[in-house]
């Protein structure tokens, strides 16, 4: 009856003083892939949460298929044919695929009948959308790409016609992401409507039919994807022109600052995560480690930073051995000029409940400059933090504000400021721009290159291949705990992508 699947009119939502959504209007055509793009905190997730019933709008109307409806909770959204695939999967890890798909839609108190029906329905869905997955596989044993597929199947099992995906490619390899996009395109061709929330401009260009841009709670533009380009979208998102490509001069590597030899690291279960890894990082160069998340990069960084003891191997910092196989002493390594921007700022790099100034000294909190008569001199600490806040343009510029109340990009700048401003010789950086908005990414990339140009040795780990390629002077590719190749940054994405997938010359089947 209507060719508009979803229409939002005048949606308005405030959280206290934060006006998250301002008078949002949005039309999503039936049978299209509609991208919603915007920086972190632009209000994309809030808007989708309103559509999925997690929040109620203060004002505004929602129309599905031309009918005005009220969505009080996710059940109402499901009843209206809306399904959502969250950024962090909502799956029970030790249940099977079938059990997860049924969960919440079992049909009766006794499962027998439900299981038979669900199995048949799941089979039908798999065939219809060519999304094969073994219904009896345990979720935690599946690769993330398949887990995501289960999430999509879960939505269709609940008869979704409209599928919302929140940052779906964050956990996928380039190949898995391509596969997902093929599935989405097929869904569109079968008449389903897809809403794709992302901050990756490339994805928008690659897959969507239409795109809406949000900035600071407002819907600033809607475009046909074919009539726009990356530069325009970036400018709309940030509100000013953005440099998408990092400009950097030629590297001038000098002496070896960090050397890793035959390093082997096991995780807490005793599984070997890093196997005989050796490499060197010189002063004045950025060495990037590319790889799909979970191939040992995290353990490698942790071992170098003294947070995890290695089984064997040697790490030399400025020519002197660190006790990498011992219990580890991050405080000592910091004193020896090793800066560490950890991969997970929420749990590791920051204490979110602390005020900003307290986080600005984390790891350096024993330094005598902060103490007076055995107690902290809070004025001195806050003043030092204020200097960093200004230099790194951390907003809001308030050292007493609780860290949890800063946006992701600003939290990351707090960590970077702390580690970079102490003049380290070696800087190891994990996922520098994860969950960080475009404007801040530009700033962070510039700072990393500045560090290199000042003669620091930088080791960079990122799952964003674009980031590795644009920042690194040398690229090491990690797969299954080993370094499977070294390439220059001008190597094609597909070649590095193959290495990341563990396919190098050997013509083995993928599984």
């Amino acid at each position: 009856m209507s060719d508009i699947a979803i229409e939002l009119k005048g949606i308005d939502k405030s959280f206290g003083p934060v006006h998250a959504n301002k008078n949002i209007n949005l039309k999503v055509r039936k049978g299209s892939i509609h991208g919603i793009i915007g920086e972190n905190g632009a209000g994309k997730s809030t808007l989708m949460s309103i559509l999925y019933g997690f929040y109620q709008a203060d004002r505004g109307e929602i129309f599905v298929d031309g009918k005005k409806i009220t969505i009080r909770d996710p059940n109402a959204a499901i009843a209206a044919g809306i399904g959502m695939v969250h950024q962090h999967f909502m799956l029970v890890e030790n249940f099977t695929v079938l059990e997860n798909v049924m969960l919440g839609a079992e049909g009766a108190a006794v499962l027998n009948r439900g299981i038979v029906n669900a199995r048949a329905e799941l089979k039908r869905l798999e065939e219809e959308y060519e999304m094969e997955v073994n219904p009896d596989a345990i979720i935690e044993e599946l690769p993330v790409g398949l887990q995501q597929r289960v999430e999509i199947l879960k939505a269709f099992y609940r008869k979704a016609d409209i599928l919302i995906l929140d940052e779906p490619t964050g956990v996928l390899t380039p190949a898995e992401a391509d596969h997902l996009f093929r599935i989405l395109a097929q869904l569109r061709d079968e008449g389903k409507t897809v809403i794709l929330i992302t901050h990756k401009l490339r994805e928008i260009m690659a897959i969507t039919d239409e795109v809406s841009v949000m900035r600071r709670g407002e819907m600033v533009a809607s475009r046909k994807t074919s009539e726009t380009n990356v530069e325009e979208l970036a400018e709309l998102m940030v509100g000013r022109r953005v440099l998408l490509n990092v400009e950097k001069g030629v590297a001038l590597p000098k002496e070896v600052r960090l050397s890793v030899k035959d390093l082997t690291v096991k995780d807490s279960r005793g599984v070997t995560m890093v196997e005989n890894v050796s490499f060197e990082v010189r002063a004045g160069e950025i060495v990037g480690i590319a790889g799909v998340a979970g191939n040992g990069q995290s353990e490698l960084l942790e071992a170098i930073a003294g947070m995890r003891s290695a089984v064997q191997g040697e790490v030399m910092l400025n020519g002197k051995s660190t006790d990498v196989t011992g219990p580890g002493d991050p405080a000592d390594l910091r004193a020896r000029k090793l800066g560490h921007v950890s991969e997970d700022r929420h749990h590791t790099g920051l204490v979110l409940q602390f005020e900003e100034a307290e986080n600005a000294i984390l790891g350096y909190h024993g330094s005598p400059e902060y103490l007076r008569g055995g107690l902290y001199n809070m004025n001195a600490i806050r003043e030092a933090a204020t200097v960093e806040i200004e230099k790194y343009d951390i907003r809001p510029p308030n050292p007493r504000l609780k860290t949890a109340n800063f946006s992701g990009g600003n939290q990351q700048k707090i960590v970077l400021a702390r580690e970079m401003e102490r003049d380290p010789d070696v800087l190891i950086i994990g996922q520098p721009t994860r969950g960080v908005d475009v404007g801040a990414i530009e700033f962070i990339h510039k700072r990393i290159i500045e560090m290199r140009d000042q003669g620091k040795a930088v080791l960079l780990v990122s799952v964003e291949l674009d980031e590795i390629r644009s920042l690194s002077d040398r690229i090491l590719v990690m797969f299954d705990g080993r370094i499977v190749g070294e390439r220059t940054p001008d190597t094609s994405e597909s070649e590095i992508g193959l290495l990341m997938a563990g396919i190098e010359g050997k013509m083995e089947a993928a599984e």
Partner: protein, 377 residues
């Protein structure tokens, strides 16, 4: 991407929400009183009168509060490191032995202030020692501190029966207690403090341990928010992986925190032994270690919150005694029920009313703030 989350101003977070919890606790308690056939209003009147109606009442209220300040601080310090010290009861109990040994040794030879200093040291040492084994087991072996501290409460209880019936009891006495201390083992009362307000402390054992508890509360604030050790304790409590990242020795912090916590619980023993009974007897802690958990929860693990929360529980103890004295239908057990309700609402259910308060607050802010949002609905 995280949704922006709502935040309340400090006055609502630390003032309004505890107050609402308290009011609801008393409303439910009022229903209980009604159920047994007494007037809730009369009971409330008796409680306030018992706690504040006389100098003696105030003295008793603050005497009880002294217990709870120490045990509340003990629980709070451990909380900040992410540890749940249920063992305050046993740590305080064992600390009594240290206090008693000092008093028995020196009460005839030294003045009270010197004995007091030694007894403070002994109570901290004995309390800390009683926390050491659970702390070590947690830090080095991963044995859960809740389980081990609970078990140590029982060990403390049994050990004290043994000590008081076999070892510390004077020859020829039938009672399981030590001899009564002489002047050196008796702390001065704070009658002068209440006299400043024109109150007569009467027989209430309100003693200088109260002042010690206030000083210790301030010291704990300094420790937690102004010292390197406190910074490391709080980092570990909020995020063990951030602590590892920052080079903080987790095992060391667990043990040191529990020693401090046990020492604080140990200080509790001074109040009844040197301030009131002048001898070591059975069950002198009388549940104060457990009440400390509620006090710490209600006081948001901050000394500035723990002191008023401790005084509130002092009121419940003293005013509750008055109610059970005046109202025959309300037994001592009923008072425990009422205290339990306060603990339930202040501690366990502390988040029950938060969402509503946040919503009302937002509406209030939105209504008074921007004119653009004032229309509609």
């Amino acid at each position: 991407m995280s949704a922006p989350f709502a935040k309340l101003p400090a006055w609502a977070e630390y003032g309004l929400i505890p107050l609402i919890n308290l009011i609801v606790a008393f409303l439910v308690a009022g229903l209980v009183v009604l159920f047994v056939g007494e007037s809730p209003i009369q009971a409330a009147y008796l409680m306030v009168k018992g706690a504040f109606g006389s100098g003696e009442g105030v003295g008793f209220t603050l005497y009880y509060a002294t217990y709870f300040i120490f045990t509340g601080l003990a629980v709070a310090v451990a909380f900040h490191a992410g540890l749940f010290n249920i063992g305050g009861e046993g740590q305080a109990y064992i600390a009594g032995v240290g206090v008693a040994l000092v008093c028995l040794q020196y009460d005839t030879t030294l003045p009270w202030y010197l004995v007091f200093v030694l007894a403070v040291a002994a109570s901290v040492a004995f309390g800390a020692l009683w926390a050491l084994i659970p702390a070590w087991l947690q830090a080095k072996r991963g044995s859960h501190i809740v389980i081990t501290t609970i078990m140590f409460n029982y060990i403390a209880s049994i050990s004290m029966v043994y000590l008081l019936t076999r070892v510390l009891k004077p020859l020829g006495s039938m009672a399981p207690q030590t001899r009564t201390f002489e002047a050196g083992g008796q702390l001065p009362r704070l009658d002068w403090l209440l006299a400043l307000f024109g109150l007569d402390v009467g027989y209430a054992p309100f003693n200088i341990t109260f002042l010690l508890s206030l000083a210790v509360a301030f010291g704990i604030w300094l420790l937690l928010w102004r010292s390197k050790l406190g910074y490391e304790i709080r980092t570990l409590g909020h995020s063990p992986s951030a602590a590892r990242y920052a080079g903080i020795n987790q095992a060391k912090i667990i043990i040191v925190t529990m020693l401090i916590s046990g020492g604080l619980a140990g200080l509790t023993a001074l109040n009844p032994i040197m301030g009131d009974q002048y001898r070591l007897q059975l069950d002198f802690v009388n549940g104060a270690g457990f009440v400390g958990i509620a006090v710490a929860l209600m006081g948001r693990s901050h000394p500035a919150g723990i002191i008023p929360a401790a005084i509130l529980f002092g009121v419940l103890y003293q005013g509750g005694a008055e109610i059970s004295f005046e109202m025959p239908n309300i037994s001592r057990d009923m008072i425990v029920v009422i205290q339990g309700l306060v603990i339930l609402f202040a501690g366990a259910l502390e988040h029950m009313f938060r969402p509503t308060v946040i919503r009302l607050y937002q509406r209030m802010v939105a209504g008074s703030g921007k004119p653009a949002t004032a229309t509609g609905e």
